[in-house]
Symmetry: C2
Subunit: 512 residues, 2 copies
């Protein structure tokens, strides 16, 4: 089948089919965005039908005969061996990624895709209600069914050594729980003593000035000004409010982030704005000329989280960022901040203490929240741990890892949206993102001099251009492990991240 004359038509067919699948994906993104932002509450059941329908169409397109036939001309669908010799490196890479996606989708029967999409929408809506009402019992049957569906999905995917690894592989290709365990162990051995050390001198930082009354409208305006400062383009993106902050994209020219605002907390909204802004910058920086094929897509969730965590923490919790931003914030909230100088404010923003909510945790304890979820996920998927006993397990592990116990399930096991729509194997990518981000950022600092001074002037373009050039514009042009090796000259490891944390908190807490 590998007559040269057929190569171009086959590639064209493939790209055309994938472009149509991308239209459907963008449309699905809008349906889901709307569900979380503006949809009337009573429309939930109808929306679940619509999402399931569009997801099914997308799946049919991704595994349809036209795509399959064209793909088979170029590559052995079983082994991934190329059948043509005339593709250049870029085309080869593209084809290999298309093949990876195809195999993944083709392993899932259409009826299963429909059922899963329908349940994901319904179950996420049930989670919203359960969380609001602090009613895990209401959510339990939805989550139980979701766990069953995910186990079933893992069997279909069969891409890992365990069911959990098969699920993980969707979000972080070629990552395994064994590799994660090694990284997490490496992390834990330095992180736990650091947190203990800080706990002994915790009185040195007081966070109370962050929880005064901060007008929500002014917080919103400040957040938007920060989004613009870091380079988020409001002509091709927007920000809204939602219960759980997220970023989605209907196309690289339509990237949408959300944030969560609280009247008595200035830190929460600002960091979630920066976090989602980091995701948004990645999506806006994907090469639009590759839209509709893997070269126009993000590498992995771990790399995606490296971008959000980089802007949230390495930028947003840095002294030089606040040299720029603090005078502006102070001008907006002169009363609330009247007794605080920049150093006090900076220290408060960086206070370390065990807390209930992952998304509001400091950079150190954050990773303990992830380790806890990673362990629970594995038990749920690989070991049939009963969903009904989840609150108990959660609270036990919170005590074990963080020394605190949630007062209720809303601030415990119900806090995160992920499991409700079936994202098992997603959580570890947050900590992977932390590790990646420091390795990338160390490299940026080596290559660009005067970065702190630019930040202090409100100029983040040097950093953004580096990320655009080296990460965003590459799409899935390399794998995550190739990228880190290429950019940082070393594989992913916990060392640089821990060096960063130890240096930072030694400074903030005057540790000896």
């Amino acid at each position: 089948m590998n007559f040269k004359g057929q190569i171009m038509p086959a590639r064209e067919t493939i790209l055309k089919e994938l472009l149509e699948a991308s239209h459907l994906q963008g449309i699905e993104a809008l349906l889901s965005w709307d569900q979380e932002t503006y949809m009337p509450e009573g429309a939930g059941a109808a929306r679940a039908e619509q999402v399931a329908y569009i997801t099914t169409l997308m799946h049919s397109k991704q595994v349809g005969e036209p795509l399959k036939k064209a793909l088979e001309e170029l590559i052995n669908l079983q082994t991934g061996e190329l059948r043509v010799m005339t593709l250049n490196d870029r085309e080869t890479r593209q084809l290999k990624e298309i093949w990876r996606d195809y195999r993944q989708e083709a392993s899932l029967p259409t009826h299963f895709v429909t059922e899963l999409a329908k349940h994901a929408s319904v179950s996420q809506q049930a989670w919203v209600r359960a969380r609001k009402d602090n009613d895990f019992a209401f959510f339990e049957p939805f989550l139980s069914k979701m766990v069953q569906l995910q186990k079933e999905k893992a069997k279909y995917l069969a891409s890992g050594n365990t069911d959990y690894d098969s699920l993980l592989d969707q979000f972080e290709p070629e990552m395994t729980s064994d590799k994660i365990s090694v990284l997490f162990d490496e992390l834990r051995v330095r992180l736990v003593p650091l947190i203990q050390k800080i706990q002994e001198v915790k009185h040195r930082v007081n966070g109370s000035l962050l929880t005064k009354e901060y007008d929500i409208g002014k917080q919103w305006d400040f957040g938007v000004s920060v989004l613009e400062a870091i380079g988020f383009d409001l002509n091709t993106g927007r920000q809204d409010r939602s219960a759980h902050p997220f970023t989605t994209s209907t196309h690289p020219t339509d990237v949408r982030t959300t944030t969560r605002l609280r009247g008595n907390d200035i830190r929460s909204a600002l960091l979630s704005t920066l976090h989602e802004g980091g995701h948004g910058l990645y999506e806006q920086g994907l090469p639009v000329e590759e839209y509709g094929n893997p070269l126009g897509q993000a590498i992995s969730l771990g790399i995606h989280e490296s971008q959000s965590r980089l802007w949230e923490n390495l930028v947003g919790l840095s002294p030089s960022f606040w040299r720029f931003a603090y005078p502006k914030l102070h001008a907006k909230f002169p009363d609330q901040l009247k007794n605080a100088d920049r150093d006090m404010f900076y220290a408060a923003m960086n206070r370390v203490r065990p807390s209930m909510i992952r998304v509001e945790a400091d950079e150190a304890t954050y990773n303990l929240h992830i380790m806890l979820r990673f362990e629970i996920e594995k038990q749920l998927i690989n070991e049939n741990y009963p969903v009904a006993k989840l609150p108990e397990l959660w609270n036990k592990k919170m005590e074990e890892y963080l020394g605190i116990t949630p007062a209720n399930d809303t601030e415990g096991v119900l806090q995160d949206v992920h499991w409700s729509f079936g994202a098992f194997g997603y959580f570890p990518t947050y900590t992977l993102g932390n590790l990646y981000s420091v390795q990338f950022f160390n490299q940026v600092k080596k290559e660009i001099s005067g970065l702190d001074e630019s930040f202090a002037r409100g100029d983040f373009s040097g950093l953004l251009n580096w990320l655009r050039k080296n990460i965003h514009s590459k799409g899935r042009g390399r794998k995550a492990e190739e990228l880190i090796l290429e950019l940082a000259g070393q594989p992913l490891s916990a060392g640089p991240f821990m060096d960063y944390l130890e240096e930072k908190y030694t400074r903030v807490y005057s540790l000896s």
Copy 2:
């Protein structure tokens, strides 16, 4: 093919295919709603692709082989003659309407549907820009192409005596321009003298209190409270802002209206809120158990407009409505309204005077705006009138009909969105709606006593229930002309509307 055993499967196939088409239609509605409300400006080109793609899928579903084959078992696709004898009245009606839709869709080639949808999205975006910049020349090529596409569409549809009639038939089935001309003549002969008579005593009503400074946030809150009062369900609907107010529905449980707010005009937003609210009530009142087939859809645009114009004018511009609403409005704007009693305010709201903008016109001159558009549309579609000369023609007719000339195209030929997305034959339905609405409302007043007293108490449920029972819940269960005969005991005519206007303005302007 009409073995009895095959009837049910055929009907089931038809309903299943149509339900899927309805999912796509609901999704398309969301894409378009978003385009007009929240979409970032830079996403326009991508959105046009998405809309075109989903529209093409919908068309393919509506004319696809499964539907066609099943339909052919039950009905002769050429003649509409039934092939089975076992259907009851409801099923027969449903099948006839499905057949009507099928014939209409099947007459359009898929490539044409795609091209039209793509151009409609692009052209509407061009209109937004041209209107903002008062730049008809920028819009002209988009509109010219749209006129060509509509002529082409009319040839495909071939359902009327003229091209224009074929287009009209999409919006108002079985209506013709000849019938409309008769109705419009009947209207004109009484309307023009009435307006002249009012012009002679125009000093008797002063509208200046409506154009003071009215805070936009308070206007919004007042509008929402009115929407709730008339029965619009915010659990299955919502209101937003847009440049051109509209109503859309992704499903009967998700009905969305928009309004337009101006800081120096209290009348405009309120009436557009009520107008779109009337459309919204119709959509929310469609029988959800018939979702996905014609019995779950609105009869025609004329009937749709009868609902919006009824709530906007017959309710919202009635004395009894303001007995309820004026104290509330006064409480929100005590300064602006301090020298105005309810009668003064009511008269101001009902002031008649020739003005540039259709959607802001009073009940009398409004219909002149429609007659003007009706004539221009016919010239564009049937007589190849050159698009480039449209502003000239528009201004000439404004002078002729209303005695005023637009200062620029933004308040002239560029004011309406309709032509930009290809809605030719739509405008007459507004005046048809006015006529229908009075005939319906006269009947409501006969059947329900004490209506004015209920309105004055803020209770609109009697009216809404009547509309729900007699119109909304019937879907396309009868044709427009059957409905008016059934409910009002007479065919559509301009008489009752003119009786209403003459009585009203004799009162408001103390005419002799």
